[in-house]
Symmetry: C2
Subunit: 323 residues, 2 copies
């Protein structure tokens, strides 16, 4: 039997998926975040997260790690492959190995390996696409200081800016201010601004506060609605910027949105409307999660054109020990 491995190593978690040669997903494993290879202890943390996720997938698949050699493996990491490829090679036995960035495996998953464009909006934002001839392009992904429009950190940034404008007396009133103060215990938006510059809040914690923009937009807060709509539009612009690089104007192109920010219904709706306003462009739901996108890539490394199938536990074995 030939076994294939796909890994999505992100800033929140590491997910490994093992498939057989006809696409059955026989095991999945999850571990902690997989970033920060550099810095003290980074190498160990990276190998631990990777090891835990793969071992958990192997255990679920009832495969013996000792004698296993994957036919092909594809691993996608946030922060890119440069500082990780050698570490992965030491750790993993695979006849063919590809180490890439997380956007590529997310794209392969969303588009089931076909050409298209994804817009990823988590804490930050980036668009990535691949044409039928293999050409790829990206737009954005410039981080919290220089870009990341439409990502969760930027949503909170816009919420705080609106709160500050209201507090300074030159912006429309918005419930965002009270809600921000309530959630953080700050007395004023200005005090919160200063606390955001300290180490008290991580960027992820600031980003997590963005749920209030969705919450208030759903209650009809005009300022919150405008922030959400602008974010949807900016994310669509990123996707269309990649489309423009890779696809002819008259070529049918599919765009997907991936990441936590798209759980916001209003943003998603606005994103889809803006994307579909472009000629010959349609929105599609992501078809597979990024770890399965990595598995699709692993299949393609050896010329296999199969898609992952997650079957009921009763098909691949007993339910014991299954995730």
């Amino acid at each position: 039997m030939a076994w294939f491995l796909g890994v999505d190593g992100g800033q929140t978690s590491t997910i490994a998926a093992i498939g057989d040669e006809v696409g059955r997903v026989v095991g999945k494993g999850v571990a902690g975040p997989c970033n920060h290879v550099s810095g003290p202890g980074g190498r160990e943390r990276f190998l631990r997260a990777l090891g835990e996720s793969v071992r958990a997938a192997l255990a679920q698949a009832r495969l013996d790690p000792k004698h296993l050699r994957f036919t092909a493996a594809c691993l996608g990491f946030s922060g890119g492959p440069d500082d990780k490829a050698d570490l992965v090679r030491e750790f993993l036995h695979a006849e063919v190995l590809k180490v890439t960035h997380d956007a590529e495996v997310a794209l392969s998953g969303a588009m089931a390996g076909e050409p298209g464009v994804i817009v990823i909006a988590g804490t930050g934002s980036i668009a990535y696409g691949r044409a039928a001839d293999g050409r790829t392009a990206r737009a954005g992904g410039w981080g919290y200081l220089f870009g990341d429009e439409g990502g969760a950190f930027d949503l909170t940034r816009q919420a705080l800016r609106a709160a500050l404008r209201a507090e300074e007396g030159w912006g429309p009133p918005t419930g965002l201010r009270d809600r921000l103060l309530e959630l953080t215990g700050a007395r004023t938006a200005n005090e919160l601004l200063h606390r955001f510059y300290t180490t008290e809040f991580s960027r992820d914690q600031i980003a997590a506060l963005s749920v209030i923009v969705d919450e208030l937009a759903r209650k009809g807060d005009r300022v919150a609605m405008e922030i959400i709509e602008r974010a949807g539009q900016q994310l669509a612009e990123l996707g269309l910027a990649v489309r423009q690089q890779l696809f002819a104007r008259d070529e049918l192109t599919r765009i997907s949105g991936v990441g936590g920010v798209f759980h916001c219904a209003l943003l998603r709706e606005h994103f889809i409307r803006c994307v579909c306003a472009a000629p010959n462009t349609s929105y599609v739901e992501p078809q597979f999660e990024p770890a399965l996108g990595a598995l699709i890539e692993a299949y393609r490394l050896v010329g296999l054109r199969v898609l992952p199938r997650i079957e009921e536990p009763s098909v691949t074995g007993s339910a014991e020990g299954m995730l």
Copy 2:
């Protein structure tokens, strides 16, 4: 004889000015930056900068520091007065003392103590104003993460964003990219982006690169011109936001622009155009530098309505030892 002291303590330098009771500026002294009271050694650095600038002003005025007690002193510091007022009190002998933030003394200088609004655009940006009845208001000043539109750091940010868009293939071509790479030795805009996130460049160093936006705008680079014009407009909006807080629509209001960014002629021109498009609003040149603004405030503390006059050295004494 009664002596008055004004100090402008900024992130780049500390300037002290001593005046007599009829407004003659008899001594001026300059020292290093005056911020960062907190942190190791901060207290000493603060007192050293303050001491050096005041002693230099006293030396020029040929006044003996030992027996001198100022009738009134006003000191404005970047970062505000909260952590500095007590330190100043320990150090300085003044019958009446006011410790405030740098925007207030800059406003007093620019407006010669009269009502009005200033927009300060250095590395960051902020607007501050005072009405005839003493009410004050501010807009912006939210720092590089959440605001500072139109400041020098933001100008470089916009230049890099334009360079990245051009490099990714979805923005118009601009000379900004080549110029940024030339000045920093980076091979790509993306490489420069990543280096900007390290400690290699301070925020002030990044801000200093903004001169290329002016340079290319003067050469007719459309992208650079648009960045400059948008910055001028955003700075005008900050000023008008303060105007709206303090002055009635039909009340004649004066707005000034202060700080290095206004040295850019195109930006300044656009700022003035936007400011003057508002009803009953005019642009005025800043009348005195911030240190003399602090001196004006010192006079006002004791009810004096005199304006500083810097006279020829021959009037206040011999030219020896003059700045």
